[in-house]
């Protein structure tokens, strides 16, 4: 028991019961405020802004929108503006100024069906290059938007004409280490993971992990792509080493089966890119650490470089709810502070301790 207490502990700090289904929760950068996005019982969207006061959350503002909201991101906005980009059930991408939320700053009906996932890059003082937002939708397309260009996306990844489409469940930006380079990784419901290079506007890599991909995330968006974690149904997740791409075998990976149920989200700790948390369909959270192998790449029989995947070890796990924890976000300002939203209509603020000692 003593050894167990030396590991990072997940302490539940605040629990807030909501009267609507929460689909996404995000920290507002540079503050102790958080946003909950979801769907009210009568089919409208809700955005609630809370502030952390001691041991409770105080509701600062509540905004109702015509359509339920599925996902949101602050990734493409500057630190002064802190505009929220949201994707809703109707396929609309909106960017809101939270000080004046009646009219969106940017609005486009980007997709024909629900936007399942959204990510932003180029904002918050992280990385370089144009601010861009990527949305992945059930209509099988992945579109990249620039808030300065109305109505048309700057990149569109869609299925071949006439082919049956697969739902895109998750998207993530990565490799944005200078002004030109950027990649988008998309995960689909049939297990496809595709990596699109936006500089060359081509498909750089694709693979299939057999089970529907619930969540993908690069460990850092603004560096040369290092690691990519993809989680799927049936409790598996894969960590790909993205530094070395083999011409035929692609990227090396290690996979781990954590829980019997779907792993809904993966989020890397902003302060340490080798630690990430996965949230599961059984209401549990697992904290993992990735360990690099001795040699990150080796030569295969033909002399081409191929990557070597490391190993993953479980630091801590905790069960908070009986319903799936569908959204998770680390605070970029305080190490170990995170918020998670579950389908039991509660949002919880957690603190993970002892992360300095890892």
């Amino acid at each position: 028991a003593a050894a167990g207490l030396e590991r990072p502990q997940v302490v539940s700090h605040v629990q807030q019961a909501l009267n609507y289904t929460v689909f996404d929760c995000k920290w507002v950068p540079r503050s102790a405020r958080l946003l909950c996005l979801g769907s009210a019982a009568r089919g409208t969207g809700l955005v609630q802004l809370y502030e952390l006061h001691g041991a409770r959350l105080e509701l600062l503002r509540e905004m109702e929108k015509p359509k339920p909201i599925k996902c949101g991101t602050f990734g493409a906005t500057s630190l002064q503006q802190r505009y929220l980009a949201t994707g809703d059930f109707d396929g609309n991408l909106n960017i809101w100024n939270l000080e004046a939320p009646e009219i969106p700053v940017y609005s486009v009906k980007g997709h024909k069906e629900i936007i399942n996932s959204i990510d932003g890059v180029g904002g918050l003082g992280i990385g370089e290059g144009a601010p861009e937002i990527v949305t992945g939708s059930r209509d099988g397309t992945v579109k990249v938007w620039d808030p300065r260009q109305n109505d048309t996306p700057v990149a569109n990844m869609e299925p071949v004409q006439g082919e049956s489409k697969r739902d895109c469940w998750t998207v993530a930006f990565g490799n944005a280490y200078n002004q030109e380079e950027r990649v988008v990784c998309a995960g689909y419901d049939n297990g496809d993971i595709k990596l699109f290079d936006l500089k060359t506007m081509s498909l750089r890599w694709e693979t299939n992990i057999k089970n529907g991909v619930c969540s993908v995330e690069f460990d850092r968006k603004d560096i040369n792509m290092n690691k990519l974690v993809a989680t799927s149904l049936e409790g598996k997740f894969h960590v790909f080493d993205m530094r070395t791409q083999h011409p035929t075998k692609g990227f090396a990976s290690v996979s781990e089966k954590a829980q019997k149920s779907t792993i809904w989200q993966v989020r890397h700790l902003p302060q340490n890119r080798d630690i990430f948390m996965t949230s599961g369909g059984s209401g549990s959270l697992h904290l993992w650490k990735y360990e690099y192998p001795a040699q990150r790449s080796k030569k295969d029989s033909e002399g081409s470089e191929m990557g070597v995947a490391g190993s993953v070890c479980l630091l801590q796990n905790v069960t908070l709810s009986t319903q799936p924890i569908s959204s998770l976000d680390w605070s970029p300002d305080k190490k170990g502070l995170c918020v998670c939203g579950a389908f039991d209509q509660t949002v919880r603020v957690l603190i993970v301790t002892k992360l300095n000692k890892i």
Binding site: A1, L5, Q9, V11, H13, R30, S31, A32, L52, G54, A55, S78, Q80, Q81, G129, A130, P131, E132, G140, V144, D146, R148, Q149, T152, P153, V154, A155, N156, M157, E158, P159, V160, Q161, E163, S164, K165, R166, Q179, E180, Y188, D189, N190, G191, D192, K194, F196, L198, M201, S202, L203, E206, N208, G212, D333, K334, L337, I351, T353
Partner: protein, 423 residues
Amino acid sequence: MPVWLREHSWRQTLTAVYLSLPLRGARATPANIFCSEQYLKVSIPPFLFEAILYAPIDDANSTAKIGNGNIFFTLCKKEPAMWDSLTLANAGKEKLQYLRENAVLKAQEKAKEETEAKKITKQEHKKYTLEATMKLEETERKRIEDLKEKERQKVAKELEFWKNQQIDADKYKSIQKKGELHQETEPLKERKKEKMNKTRIPSEGTSKIRFKSTEGHGSRSIFSQNLKEEQLPAPRAAATITVNFTPRVFPTALRESRVAEEEEWLHKQAEARRIINSDLSELEDLKEEERNPDWLKDKGNKMFAMGNYLGAVNAYNLAVRLNNKLPLLYLNRAACHLKLRNLHKAIEDSSKALELLTPPVPDNKNARVKAHVRRGTAFCQLELYTEGLQDYEAALKIDPRNKNIEKDAEKIRHLIQETTQSS
């Protein structure tokens, strides 16, 4: 017949009787000795010793020592008195019997009581151990809880501290910004005007718009925004990347199953069987079997196989008159018409068959492929190559692995190319 052991010897005191029983070589165990209040039996097959005691004894306290080829009993008398003899002399047979049975019963009862007592003590022990372990675990749990509580409080304090830091930092920043603002407005305004004149349309247009919308906000945002904008690259040139998806061998359970459509198809088939157009007067001329569309279909198939296409057509016609909802009849009739070069009829029949073969399910896959192929052939023979190609491609879509269809489709494509080139 047991062998009685009679050479026993005994002596007594006021309170006890000592009985020695030689065993004649047999080996005794405690199980062979049976003793109750007034009855003593030693049974080591084939030897038997039995005694009805003169007076009752306290069998709980009596002992028997086995060894040296004999058993030595020490029987404690219930009432201290001297016995005239070891056994009751004039014990009648019934008394013997009765005593024996009694003894056995008593022994059984005693045994039962003993087991009961044992059980109870066992349960008590168990309960006690359980409680003890529970207590231990409680203390352990409490200890861990306390540690966790401490952590929680520590962490909450840190969080408060950090939050206050944030608030202070924000306040400080806003004060600073205001100070800077007053200093910077003048020179910046100058610079901004220059930039506006220098740079051409895109940034000018956008920066103008920016001005209008952000006039209400603090002026600082305009300036910093503008500066940053100069450094941001222009929006990307729009492009589209097309993707293919890995086909799934096993479609995801309910999300993609065609259950509803399959049910519909089965239902339709069942209905079709039941229809009988029985309003034809010529029906009475027909034999029983000739009224069965299935039998007629078989007949037609056989005639087709033998090359009697007209006969086959007749058979199918009659079958259709009886039941016009069976797609296979139209399908086969189309094949006959193809052979007879009645191309328009072939097309009609294939189309009718396809109509009846909805909804499309894996069950009627083969039939649909055949229908498309036959219709395609008919079109090609009528030199309507594009329509023919359409049908062949439809067939290929249903059954991508059929090489013949592929080859034929290729041929048709070539033909189309040639005709377009020549015309």
